[in-house]
Symmetry: C2
Subunit: 165 residues, 2 copies
């Protein structure tokens, strides 16, 4: 893996932000600029969703980041045990894929990145999209479900500015 | 990864059984014979346990199995949400490591392997150790906490006999 990284010439300029969960997203930042973003790959058979781990692996291998920032998942009080269980399992799968690929990563709590990035923003869910649009004017975030992409890019930005520097 | 597998000369004769969870275990079967077993690697800071994912990766890379049989985890009704959450996260991490390393795997429910392997055995927890001792006389399973190893070897055996054949 180390060899591959050197071959590809990544010298710490590619980081990835991940908002886990079935409505989450994966965003690639190259030199601080978003170059790729996509919704969390999910296998949906109509009845239930499952994370498409092979696709996550493929994305990570393709962009081979020097570091990944993953939002720390926690059991939500409101959700049932079954939904929480599937959420935490898929969160674990993402962590495991990073471990398996030998990619270094940092888990970031929502409260931590929000405090630094969401300067004076309201607390509503839509605020992440508004903030991401302010910071990255070229990023297309028009659908309501782009919330995941907005959070992923903000998490990556947080990591770049406050963890790696 | 494919290349590595060919280099090492694994031609489908190495399978691994994993009983997930912090008291679980990883057992390697080579040509149907247990050649290595160890307790689930865990980082324990005294207050709480966390799966040692890097160690799991190392074990898998060392023995490079053609297939892994992992006991399917489910939320246990008795446990609290926090314990269940940590259990399912670490179960997900193991699955993710397999995905990251490109190792094929099968999830096996406890009821499925027990039906085939635990022939006329009582339902108590200790029964797995007794059954594993019957089937693998050379496997040392003397401590009460060898329950994880016993289950892991029986899961691997189930996979070898009923999934791969």
């Amino acid at each position: 893996m180390e060899l591959k990284r050197i071959e590809r010439g990544n010298t710490g300029n590619v980081v990835i932000g991940i908002d886990p969960g079935f409505s989450g997203a994966i965003v690639v930042l190259k030199n601080g600029v978003p170059t790729h973003c996509e919704d969390m790959p999910v296998i949906d058979d109509g009845k239930r969703k499952e994370l498409n781990g092979n696709k996550v692996r493929e994305i990570l291998l393709k962009h081979y980041p020097s570091h990944v920032f993953l939002e720390k998942a926690q059991a939500m009080p409101g959700q049932g045990i079954s939904g929480t269980g599937r959420y935490l399992t898929s969160y674990g799968i993402i962590r495991g894929i990073l471990i398996g690929l030998g990619i270094s990563y940092t888990l970031v709590s929502p409260i931590t990145w929000r405090k630094k990035i969401m300067v004076d923003m309201p607390k509503e869910k839509g605020a992440s999209i508004i903030r991401a649009q302010q910071l990255f004017p070229n990023l297309e975030l028009t659908r309501k479900k782009d919330h995941g992409k907005a959070e992923a890019v903000l998490i990556a930005l947080y990591g770049l500015k406050y963890v790696l520097r």
